[in-house]
Amino acid sequence: MSDPQQTASHRTGRNRPGQATAAFLRGEALRMAGLCTECGNCLRACPMRRLAPAAQDVDARTVLSGVRALLRGEVANTASLSWVAACSRSAQCHGVCPVEGLDPAFMMRVAKMRAMGALGDRPQITVQEDSQFSPRVKAFARLTLSSSEQEDWL
C-alpha cells in the first residue's frame, strides 16, 4: 500500500479533480524521456509493429527519438506516431528494456496519451474515444441488471 505522504496528491496539493494525475503523468513523461536510450529493443519485441504502416523499415533510433519527443510534449515523426497509435498494451517490451527504472510499456502508454493531447498538447493522432461512453454503460445496465442491482451496484 502506498504511503499517503508520497503520493502525487500530497506533493502537488489537490485543487481540482484530475490535476494531481495530470501532474504525475507530466512528471513521469519527462522522467522516462530522460531515461530512454533509444536502443530499440522495445520496438523489435513489439507484436503490433506489423500493424503500424509508417513504422515499417524505419530504424529504431528514429522511432524512439519520436517517442521521446512525444513524452516531452514535442511534435513527433510519422513513424513514431504510427507505432504509438498501434500500441495495445501487449507488454512484450517489458522484459527487454535494459534501463533500470524504465517500464517501456508504461512509457508507450504515456506517450500515446500525450499524442492524443492528454496534457493539453495539440493532438497528433486520432482520438477514438466513445463520446457516449457513460450513457452507453448505463443504457446496457438498464437492460441487464434489475432495479435493485442498478441501485446497489452502479
Partner: protein
C-alpha cells in the same frame, strides 16, 4: 464461517469496471462465486467507479475519475478490491495508486478464486462435455498470470477438456485492438485458425471486451463462445444465460429482447446507445 473467524481477506468490493454492464450475469455470477469461496464482495462499477482509461485523451478528466474511484473505495473501509477488468487493474497500479493512496489491496478475481479453488472444486458437479480453447492475450498476463490460472480453474469442471495452443493475441484485451486498423480481423482470423488446429468445440474468453468482440463468431459456425465465469457457474448449476451473445447473434435483437424490457430500459436510450452495437456486423 463463524464471525470470529472472518478475516480481512473474507470481505471485499468486487470492482467489475464499466463495460461489464453488458453482461449482468457475469457480474452476478462473479459475486456468487466469491461468496461461495467465502468472500463477501459487494459489486461496484459503472461510470461512478471508472478508472479513467476510457477518457485517456484528457489526463484531467481521466485523473478526476480515477481519483474519485480510489477515494470512494477508501471511504467504504474495504480491505481489498477484487478486480475484473485488466484496464482497471493496471490503471490502479500505474496511475491511480501513485496519485491517490489506496487503503486497500488489489487482486484479480481469477487470483482469488484460484487461491481458494479447494473450496470451489466440490461445487463443480455439473458435467460440461466440451473441448475448449481459452482466448489468451499477452498484455495482462505479465501482471496476473490469467493465461495459466483460468485454464487451471476450468480443468476442475467435470467433462471439460481444456486444450493448449501457442497463440497469444497482442494487447491486454480485445478493446485495445479495436482502434488499430486491421487488428481485430487479423487476431480473430488467428484465433479461428487456432481453434481449428486444436480441434476445440468452443472458445473461452477471459475478459468482457473479448467476449463482446467474439460473441459473433458463433454465427454460421458450430463453434460456441463462452466466458470462463459462464462455465464455472454452469458447472455449479447456476443460471448462466448469456443475454448479450443471444441479442448480438439474433437476426432481430429488438424482437429477441422484447418490447416490455426495452420500454423498461428506455426506448430512446436503447435505440441510440445499445441497438447499433447489437446490430453491428460480425468482424469475420
Amino acid at each position: 464461517m463463524s464471525a470470529d473467524r472472518t478475516t480481512d481477506q473474507d470481505r471485499a468490493v468486487f470492482w467489475y469496471g464499466c463495460n461489464m454492464t453488458r453482461h449482468g450475469e457475469l457480474i452476478r455470477n462473479s459475486a456468487r462465486l466469491l461468496e461461495a469461496v467465502g468472500v463477501a464482495a459487494e459489486p461496484a462499477g459503472g461510470p461512478a467507479y471508472c478508472c479513467g482509461s476510457a477518457k485517456e485523451s484528457s489526463a484531467q478528466i481521466a485523473g478526476g475519475m480515477g481519483e474519485r474511484t480510489v477515494e470512494a473505495f477508501n471511504a467504504t473501509g474495504t480491505p481489498q478490491v477484487i478486480t475484473w477488468c485488466p484496464s482497471c487493474h493496471m490503471n490502479t497500479q500505474d496511475i491511480m495508486a501513485p496519485v491517490t493512496a489506496p487503503e486497500f489491496t488489489t487482486q484479480h478475481l481469477s487470483e482469488v478464486l484460484h487461491a481458494r479453488r479447494g473450496r470451489l472444486a466440490p461445487m463443480l458437479r455439473q458435467r460440461i462435455g466440451l473441448r475448449v480453447l481459452v482466448h489468451k492475450h499477452q498484455g495482462f498476463n505479465a501482471r496476473v498470470p490469467v493465461n495459466d490460472i483460468v485454464p487451471e480453474l476450468l480443468r476442475m469442471i467435470p467433462g471439460l477438456e481444456v486444450l493448449e495452443h501457442d497463440l497469444r493475441i497482442p494487447g491486454h484485451m480485445c478493446s485495445a485492438l479495436v482502434g488499430v486498423p486491421g487488428a481485430i480481423l487479423a487476431t480473430q482470423s488467428d484465433q479461428l485458425a487456432a481453434i481449428t488446429e486444436s480441434g476445440a468445440d468452443a472458445v473461452v474468453t477471459i475478459f468482457h471486451s473479448c467476449h463482446r468482440e467474439m460473441a459473433s463468431l458463433e454465427r454460421g459456425r458450430t463453434l460456441k463462445v463462452f466466458n470462463w465465469v459462464h462455465l464455472l457457474a454452469q458447472a455449479i448449476g447456476w443460471d448462466a444465460a448469456d443475454d448479450y451473445k443471444t441479442w448480438r447473434n439474433a437476426s432481430d435483437p429488438r424482437a429477441e429482447i422484447g418490447q416490455a424490457r426495452i420500454e423498461a430500459a428506455g426506448e430512446v436510450a436503447f435505440e441510440r446507445l445499445t441497438e447499433p452495437e447489437l446490430r453491428r456486423p460480425a468482424t469475420i
